[in-house]
Assembly symmetry: C2
Homo-oligomer: 479 residues x 2
Amino acid sequence: MTVPLSDPDTADRTGSAPAHATDADAAAALLAALRRDLPDGILGTGPEATGPYATDRSGSRPAGLPLAVVHATRTEHLRTALRHAHALRVPVVPRGAGTGLSGGASAGAGSVVLDLSGMNRILELSPEEQIAVVEPGVITADLDRAAGEFGLAYAPDPASAAISTIGGNIATNAGGLRCAKYGVTRDAVLGLDALLADGTPIRTGRRTVKGVTGYDLTGLLTGSEGTLGVITAATVRLRPVPEETVTVAAYFAGFAEGAEAVSALTAARIEPAMAELLDGPVLGAVDDAQGTDLRSRGGALLLVQCDGRGAAAEADAAVRRLRGRADSVEVTKDPAEAERLLAARRLALPSLERLGRPLIEDIAVPRNQLAAAVREIDAAADRHGVRIFTFAHAADGNLHPILVLDPGLPAVPDAAWRAAGDIFSAALRLGGTLTGEHGVGTLKRRWLGEELGPDQHALQRRLKAAFDPRGILNPGKAL
Amino acid sequence: MTVPLSDPDTADRTGSAPAHATDADAAAALLAALRRDLPDGILGTGPEATGPYATDRSGSRPAGLPLAVVHATRTEHLRTALRHAHALRVPVVPRGAGTGLSGGASAGAGSVVLDLSGMNRILELSPEEQIAVVEPGVITADLDRAAGEFGLAYAPDPASAAISTIGGNIATNAGGLRCAKYGVTRDAVLGLDALLADGTPIRTGRRTVKGVTGYDLTGLLTGSEGTLGVITAATVRLRPVPEETVTVAAYFAGFAEGAEAVSALTAARIEPAMAELLDGPVLGAVDDAQGTDLRSRGGALLLVQCDGRGAAAEADAAVRRLRGRADSVEVTKDPAEAERLLAARRLALPSLERLGRPLIEDIAVPRNQLAAAVREIDAAADRHGVRIFTFAHAADGNLHPILVLDPGLPAVPDAAWRAAGDIFSAALRLGGTLTGEHGVGTLKRRWLGEELGPDQHALQRRLKAAFDPRGILNPGKAL
């Protein structure tokens, strides 16, 4: 993860921020104000302090280094920083753990990073109400673990859950493996405490399960990638840990056959908690890295989990549909055995990282278009001479085509961008979207207008202006 | 349902619309343009045509009658109406079946009603994708029935499902009886076709289960009560009909005991599809109207349904928690027997309507505050000398305190408004909201600022202006 990707949108990255953003006087005035008004140890300046904040896990790196980093541990630090940044029209970049895959948290010259990772307290966990109130820097898996002590779970489970923060998950409306049954991050967020661009605090949403007072600003802030406000706390819904989980692994001749099997499960009204589909090249990469023999067992692997009080009956129904279509089917209720079956999925990305620098795409298509999407992905790979490995959250039509690049290259080669562009176009043509769960960030902005259309795109910019008239919140991202 | 309630907000109902709204010249010009540009039979004018549109099922009736009604059957009719209304700054009031309970669809002097009930085609129903695309005037139960032919269901089930429209459900983000397990209308809406104030069409959201491109305008339009755009089609998610449903009925000494039993179910991590709790006065009203003897069996009735492949096991677990707390518990898997048990809930509102004019409130509180909420409701009834009957969607903390008013009164008496105000204040004090699922409309606007706070309220007005700079869309509602 060391080769920076050149950012296709660097040129207009601060395009929507006023010219003052790069104004040396404004920068100097802001630094002086922050030094004066923030407690010791909160402000970081200089290349050593700011360097790590220039990029996120996308590798996208805008030009230059940020002005400063505010290592916030209290909302008050953020209010101070926003108040001054707003007055001086200096861009700010809110950031959690920096694990984003679309460049949404990358910070370039002239910006101030608001590092929220130190605001990591679970403020409340109510098993009676089945909610938690958390600061944005809480690691997602830590919340899930804390809830687990009461037999509850925080359902959204992005693959990054062990290293990403709730705040970052909310900023990108993160998905994960259990979304088809349990929804995405937005479905779990009931209310938010947020600061507006000038530091004004608002509290959106509620603690109750239902509520329809006013416009849904909670849902609007969720997925807005730090461009509408800075989240300082979130009230999230917890749910009971399923009574039982049954895991099924099935090998198929190829991805298309596996995709058809998933459609057959959907048609049989089976609602798996998880349905991960790995293509042959991914299985081969895992074999090469781990010494396994997955590829010899089939050209695609489908991993299904059914859970809840009806898990066994539902898994039985699933297995009946898979037999005949699959080359082999294994079933287990044993957690250790399940972990063994799931290892291929867990090891897929680390195995690909041994082959080169992964550029992870994230399209979603209607769930009956999975096989068509993979045909398009394979065609794009052939057309542009790039290597693409694909796995999918198959029950919700979300595919991750992963372009593996030569780590010696100074930037993403044009052929890779062209292949990515072809994949995005195919997703839209199939009735899908260019990002299922990773966000637009900087890397997908050039395709955004195609999906939104000009009138909706303009409306979204007016909304942004209603929240952030000076354009200081994460300019050049998401929109 | 014939006595109009006087609308507390009539005075500023068109407050956010420009003065032209009542300008006779603009009205005349608009009528001329609509007569010229709409096909025969689409435009209705005159008191007989417009009278039925002055109020909805809240009975809230602003001063005067609307200028005209556009009986739209195609999007093109709406575009024409909006284009002219926008140019002439005349307010429009989008309307489905007019079954709203908060005055959101009531239309007063100088406004044009956009009647969407004639746009009632199911445009697509895809069992493979488990989605439907519908026009806004489709009756909610009709969609559910159509989906049922494929073993699928449209999950949101407001009590009005047999008479309300999908468009109206989306406008209010309608809830229902199954929300605690299956979510509210917003959770079922994937994408919308909408017209902006000037008639410009946009398409928000997607057909896919997941997607994070751009801000969530689908969620923002849902629940916006016709103040941000006019919905012309919706892409909604369907889900499998549960394999099995088990119904449990339990009588308790009083509402508090029933509420504690629901908390015990939640604590046992039981997720009922339905948990309806009726208080003693409601049971008595049903007895008086129907000749039953419910009240003799207890002071509160809890109706629980568990569904899915684990329904029987979950219902068993529920019954174990209810026995000992309840005076009696009955369980059945038989649909006819279930229908008999559920009759008390189904007949509650019709029975109350025999006693007078019901004013239905709609607070929601954290689910462990149900008993406290009912104590507050009873205290408000005593304090102001009004009769209040309460039933609750107990699993999600949503209570419907129903004030039964003398139908001979010309308007809602002050004592009733004061009792309602006390109930709203109590809901907020308990960490809840003043409307769980019915919307703000006109009737709850005076309490809105208390829940949102001034800064969020101001932000919501800026959002409204970003969508509707001339303030023509359902002015004086929701916000």
